[in-house]
Symmetry: C2
Subunit: 241 residues, 2 copies
């Protein structure tokens, strides 16, 4: 062990400054759910390169800005939402992924209720629009790949982590919860079995309230209790929808 390697490309044969000529960006996959539809927020680029193409919202990371903060800032600029923290998924670092220079990008996602948001274009975007995840246009850069990976990551995360709490109102019915999962995961659950499993989860608290003004038997409302959820997991339980 610890024998010196005979020959090794010398790192310092490249001027050290050359390593500080690259940049990093964040790209944000903002999913919006509403009424059994899953969409994603895309911008139409207002500047070169790829001017006019659809792309994921993103930005370079400021020199004195944390990576996570940069993602939150992009979300804030677009949606005015301050209290969301985006989830990091993966970094993309092919040499030629950005035509203007070496830019490594870190992909983030969030899942939100579509109706709560009025997204607004930033200075670098001509237009901004929700697109169904089933019909994604051609995207700039390697954003198609980034989107796909984030969609997969979100789908596997939602089974175990409560990233869906932002999507439903504070009080929701189990049917609403079921529809959300059916839409996101593209599969059907049996109504009876789903509610049996889910209503056994201690962190979903049954309320003394029901739906009103529905033309059928009203459903009991539930709420997600974050404190109970944390305890539930700390005592070794694994959540699986």
């Amino acid at each position: 062990m610890a024998k010196k390697k005979p020959e090794k490309k010398d790192l310092y044969s490249i001027p050290i400054d050359d390593f500080f000529k690259s940049a990093f960006s964040v790209d944000c996959v903002i999913f919006g759910y509403h009424d059994k539809e899953l969409k994603v927020l895309l911008i139409q680029r207002g500047a070169s390169p790829f001017e006019g193409d659809w792309a994921l919202p993103g930005d370079l990371v400021y020199p004195h800005e944390d990576l996570d903060s940069a993602a939150d800032r992009v979300l804030m600029d677009l949606t005015q939402l301050e209290d969301i923290s985006m989830r990091q998924v993966k970094s993309f670092g092919k040499v030629k992924r950005h035509p203007l220079g070496r830019v490594i990008t870190v992909a983030y996602f969030a899942l939100l209720e579509l109706q709560e948001i009025s997204p607004m274009a930033s200075s670098w975007a001509k237009d901004i629009k929700w697109h169904s995840v089933k019909r994604i246009p051609k995207l700039a850069f390697d954003h198609k790949e980034i989107l796909t990976e984030c969609l997969n990551a979100m789908r596997s995360l939602i089974k175990h982590e409560p990233i869906w709490t932002r999507v439903l109102s504070k009080k929701f019915t189990l049917t609403e919860l079921q529809e959300l999962f059916e839409t996101v995961l593209m599969k059907k659950y049996d109504k009876g079995n789903f509610r049996k499993k889910v209503s056994a989860m201690k962190f979903l608290k049954r309320l003394q309230e029901s739906q009103v003004n529905v033309r059928h038997r009203p459903s009991t409302l539930y709420k997600f209790d974050h404190k109970t959820f944390v305890q539930y997991r700390e005592s070794g339980n694994v959540v699986e929808f």
Copy 2:
């Protein structure tokens, strides 16, 4: 939708060149398994900052090098192994994580058989040594956090992905497989139940050979069949150990 936001910090009020004064690195968590022990390869830094401290092997990414290639190169430099591709886990990008400048690092891991490797120190390392994951010394930078996250990622990945195939010989017994999982996941499996579950997995092919020169009933040898594994999953199956 698409209304212009009234006020926005202008990206271009910061000279664009300032964005190209940062660097990225990769850090590699190389796990080594042998004889019911899980270890990790650490280097002792030979240069400032943190000279003399233990750290994860890593390096700046070359200007014309893909991110994934950089991780593979670090592994190659240390171990001479060429055909491994490391798994990306997560990026770490706090502003002050590197004392000399803005450096974002991308963490990778691999899982190998410890005995097959004679690691050798690179130019930037005084020493290199396997450390039990149970006794990790103080580490430079934020490497403790990186190691923890990679260990968690490896533990959850190994249940579903065959990242363990490098660790066992081409032909292995089910007991060896069981010991590997018990060590990595720190839990016990029932012998009978483990082999029942595992021998039902179609991609683990039972061979017509047995152990030789053992002082007890010889075990049947198995091999991992990659082609069958791919088919198995393409037909919708999920693997879970």
